[in-house]
């Protein structure tokens, strides 16, 4: 049994091992994962709802889901890794350094690391200038740098690959 909280309201939530059938405060919900990753359909009290996983913050255990275009943030008080896995949101708590992408469009002002350098979490990697501000882009976890995809002075678009890790 999982307890979830939206605002001040608390709900009891449980599901069977197929994850297709769940109960909310004792009432049945049918969950049908859709082909699109992170999307699903719900049937509750004979009504159908469209759902989408938006985000899950593993540190705070707050899940954000969208039901019929409205976003809800849900405070989950029990482990839900298995459910997340099933719905295409897995890997919530394992921290592996991924490739670094530009969080915003901007200009690469300075590169602070070299290829093959080992960095630890929060190490400054480069300075990206956007909206007249110098933004220090930090490592999201420990890792070793495989390649640097940009040059100093280069303008980059949002989500452009900046640094590749092994």
């Amino acid at each position: 049994m999982t307890k979830a909280r939206i605002g001040n309201k608390e709900f009891d939530f449980s599901w069977d091992n197929t994850f297709h059938n769940a109960t909310l405060n004792g009432e049945k919900i049918e969950i049908q994962p859709s082909e699109k990753k992170g999307h699903f359909c719900l049937k509750y009290q004979n009504k159908k709802y469209r759902g989408e996983w938006i985000a899950f913050h593993s540190d705070t255990k707050i899940a954000i889901i969208k039901i019929n275009h409205t976003e809800f943030s849900i405070n989950i008080t029990q482990p839900i890794d298995a459910l997340l896995e099933k719905l295409g949101m897995g890997g919530g708590s394992t921290k592996k350094v991924k490739n670094l992408k530009a969080p915003m469009p901007g200009l690469v002002r300075q590169i602070l690391v070299n290829v093959d350098e080992e960095v630890t979490k929060d190490a400054p990697l480069l300075i990206l200038e956007a909206m007249k501000m110098e933004n220090v882009i930090k490592a999201q976890g420990d890792g070793k740098i495989k390649s640097i995809q940009v040059n100093q002075g280069q303008a980059v678009e949002k989500s452009a690959l900046l640094v590749e890790f092994y």
Partner: protein, 444 residues
């Protein structure tokens, strides 16, 4: 009076100037970079000239291109807005040489006041109280080390051409001086093309209170009371209000007179601002003088019922001032809405505005260049809108601001609206109990 004014700026301030020009029957010329092709100031002006690619140094800071635009459109004056070339002595000089009236300070005045280190000397000589620091521009890092030791840490490094929170750093320990020195040089070089740095003692627990002034070509100046800009983050103003909750009639008179003294010492012409730090004993120190119209001029306009841009244009055209001072009759607050994510440490968030609804109603003013479908470019400042409320009392102005913020919808990008909503509820803010340190302990 001028027949045609070229506005050498972009965004909301370009629109702001165009509006007043229209009311005064003056034609307008907009200039724009290729990144601003779809910007509102381009559409609202009578004429528009493209002056270069997105990077500021190749467009809005490129003097020959702007002068050429003024010549081909036959503009007889240039309004520089704030930022960019508004306090650039060379630009003011080149305008003069080309027979175009620069609506702002003369090159001599900008050198005397816009250059912050020499401004301090001028003020000291005029008898305006100042903060201890370096005598002018620092020659070397060694000199910086020496003076910092004399006036004691914490100290502040400031780019002489800086402004708007760019090109300055507070240094608390000797071992951090070198890194900050390099950072300020780099920022200043990139943003203003001038990497001169000076130093001053960092006054702890100060309030930032500035006095709006106006001076005419005949050496006469007046003040238009204060603005409290203590709510700042990294020296970037977020919220301004007038009157200051910390102000007394006596202090206002003293600061007003000091500001007039400052203006008359340089025979200041046009509208300007004298910034002071006020400590808990209500002693005040001259910080700097801004020889331009400021972002927060709006709240002064609201409480004294006066169009400052119109006054600025009239003063540039040679009109005299009456010489009387102006005092607030109402209370006004301005929230700067930035394209930044307040939940992610105010990181910049340029991009496309997908849905937009502006607040309105009694006592609400909105100065913005934003609209649904507008793509905010990453090349310029993050401020996209100024939301201003005015009411009989501070409490009413805050309530009105809360209501207006709740109505304001901007989708597609993150903005600082949620920050302002939270700030307006903050008990310390509501009590008027804040210093420039306020944001350091404020949690989103």
């Amino acid at each position: 009076m001028f027949k045609k004014i070229l506005i050498a700026n972009r965004g909301e301030i370009a629109l702001r100037v165009i509006r007043t020009c229209k009311e005064m029957g003056i034609s307008t010329v907009a200039v724009y970079s290729t990144a601003d092709r779809d910007s509102l100031h381009v559409r609202f002006a009578d004429e528009a000239v493209c002056i270069g690619p997105p990077a500021s140094k190749d467009s809005y800071l490129k003097i020959p291109n702007i002068i050429a635009a003024a010549e081909i459109t036959n503009a007889d004056a240039i309004h520089p807005g704030y930022g960019f070339l508004s306090e650039n002595a060379t630009f003011s000089k080149v305008c003069k040489e080309n027979g175009i009236k620069f609506i702002g300070a003369s090159p001599e005045m900008i050198d005397a006041m816009g250059d912050k280190s020499s401004a301090k000397q001028t003020m000291k000589n005029a008898g305006v109280p100042c903060i201890p620091g370096s005598e002018g521009i620092l020659e070397s890092l060694e000199e910086a080390h020496k003076i910092a030791k004399e006036i004691k840490y914490p100290i502040m490094l400031k780019a002489t051409a800086g402004g708007g929170g760019k090109g300055m750093r507070v240094v608390y320990k000797e071992e951090d001086l070198e890194d900050s020195w390099e950072a300020v040089r780099r920022e200043a070089g990139a943003a203003f093309g001038n990497d001169g740095i000076y130093m001053e003692k960092f006054v702890e627990e100060p309030r930032h209170i500035e006095i709006q002034i106006a001076g005419d070509q005949y050496g006469k100046a007046c003040h238009l009371s204060e603005r409290d800009c203590s709510i700042q983050r990294r020296h970037q103003k977020l919220v301004e209000e007038t009157p200051s909750p910390f102000m007394t009639d006596e202090l206002r008179e003293k600061m007003g007179q000091a500001a007039i003294k400052a203006a008359e010492a340089v025979q200041y012409e046009g509208v300007g601002t004298v910034e002071f730090l006020v400590d808990k004993n209500r002693d005040f120190y001259f910080m700097e003088m801004n020889t331009r119209i400021q972002v927060e001029h709006t709240i002064t306009e609201e409480v004294i019922n006066y169009d400052l841009v119109k006054e600025q244009i009239k003063l540039a055209a040679g009109d005299p001032i009456s010489g009387r001072n102006y005092y607030p009759k109402m209370h006004s607050i301005q929230c700067r809405i930035n394209a930044e994510d307040p939940f992610k440490n105010f990181s910049p968030c340029p991009g496309k505005i997908t849905a937009y609804h502006s607040p309105g109603g009694h006592g609400v003013r909105l100065d913005t260049h934003a609209y649904a479908g507008y793509v905010i470019p990453p090349n310029y400042d993050s401020m996209i809108s100024k939301l201003i409320t005015v009411a009989q009392t501070r409490e009413e102005a805050i309530t009105k601001m809360q209501r207006a913020l709740d109505e304001y919808i901007i989708e597609g990008i993150k903005t600082t609206i949620p920050f302002h909503q939270k700030l307006m509820k903050d008990p310390q803010f509501r009590a008027g109990n804040f210093t420039t340190k306020f944001m350091e302990s404020f949690e989103m």
